[in-house]
């Protein structure tokens, strides 16, 4: 009798262990296209940052700068953030001087590259037009994803971007907090 009971216990334990591994396997594979790939995060932007004038309105600083080095990677509020040393080449809005720290939401975390949808991680040695907002506590300038890190490939593009965002700054639309409307 005792033998039959222990056999039953053994079978039950085996079934439970098998079910656990099947569930764990399904969790690992749940809605993932492939392991170790890019994980995109989907932001709800507070305003239409694809509009240059609105982007200029919400940015504290707009400038051309060259990425000199990656300084670090901090996981803030669950999302990895990457910090870069950027040499300011020309201010368009604001008055940054010399080397500043630019922070980008995104970076490597647990074998995956986390990025805001449509964005790419900054590359050392590349020049960008940056639109940023200041974080006084961290002493860094967080870029606006996608629209606030435009790669500058040559002088023609640089001059075009300077003209475009100088005009946008002149016509900036300051950010206003939304109030509920039945749109």
């Amino acid at each position: 009798m005792q033998n039959i009971l222990s056999k039953k216990m053994g079978v039950a334990t085996l079934i439970l262990v098998t079910m656990f591994f099947i569930y764990a396997f399904s969790l690992i594979n749940r809605d993932s296209s492939s392991p170790g790939k890019i994980v995109y995060i989907s932001p709800s932007y507070v305003t239409d940052v694809s509009n240059d004038s609105k982007l200029a309105g919400i940015a504290d600083n707009i400038f051309i700068g060259e990425v000199k080095a990656q300084l670090g990677n901090k996981k803030q509020d669950k999302v990895p953030e990457s910090q870069f040393k950027v040499e300011v080449i020309q201010n368009i809005k604001g008055s940054l001087i010399g080397a500043v720290t630019v922070n980008q939401q995104g970076g490597n975390d647990s074998g995956s590259l986390i990025l805001v949808e449509g964005d790419s991680l900054l590359e050392v040695g590349r020049t960008y037009l940056f639109a940023t907002r200041v974080n006084q506590e961290q002493k860094w300038n967080t870029l606006v994803p996608v629209y606030g890190d435009i790669r500058v490939d040559n002088d023609v593009k640089k001059n075009d971007l300077i003209d475009r965002f100088t005009r946008a700054y002149k016509e900036e639309i300051p950010f206003k907090y939304s109030k509920g409307q039945n749109k």
């Binding site: 995060i41 989907s42 509920g180 409307q181």
Partner: protein
């Protein structure tokens, strides 16, 4: 053309079980109720008998230009973060809209960017990507996309 469906979502066996906390919990509850009103997918709190699919939390950051953020992790629990720096200055309707938008992602609905209204016309969808230019509740196009997916 289905422009507003994504393969990345938090639905697991026909439901989304959530945990976590938010300062604006009543707005979160309203947003969950409005999606649950569509019927197919149940969004409910995590229990000892379920596994957490989605975790809510708050941030308070003035240097970020988003008020809500959905992250779909391949293995870990997906997350919805709301940025109280902005939510504190919104009214209840807009705050509820932020939660409704992010829960739309958890239900597989993708962002819509249509700044000149050429695709959907004005104020087409709660999945519009910019808070200051979208409806704050579920619209008929959201229902169509939800029903197409589920």
């Amino acid at each position: 053309m289905d422009v507003s469906s994504s393969d990345l979502y938090s639905v697991d066996a026909g439901e989304i079980r959530w945990d976590g906390s938010n300062w604006y919990s009543s707005e979160r509850t309203s947003a969950i109720s409005s999606w649950n009103g569509l019927g197919t997918i149940y969004i409910g709190p995590d229990t000892v008998y379920t596994f957490e699919d989605l975790h809510f939390s708050d941030v308070n950051r003035s240097d970020l230009t988003w008020d809500g953020l959905y992250t779909n992790y391949p293995v870990l629990t997906d997350t919805i973060q709301v940025n109280n720096y902005y939510l504190d200055k919104y009214d209840t309707i807009v705050r509820t809209g932020v939660f409704t938008h992010e829960l739309g992602h958890a239900l597989s609905l993708a962002d819509i960017y249509d700044p000149d209204y050429s695709i959907y016309g004005p104020w087409p969808s709660v999945m519009y990507g910019y808070t200051d230019a979208r409806p704050n509740g579920i619209t008929s196009s959201d229902i169509d996309n939800y029903e197409f997916k589920w």
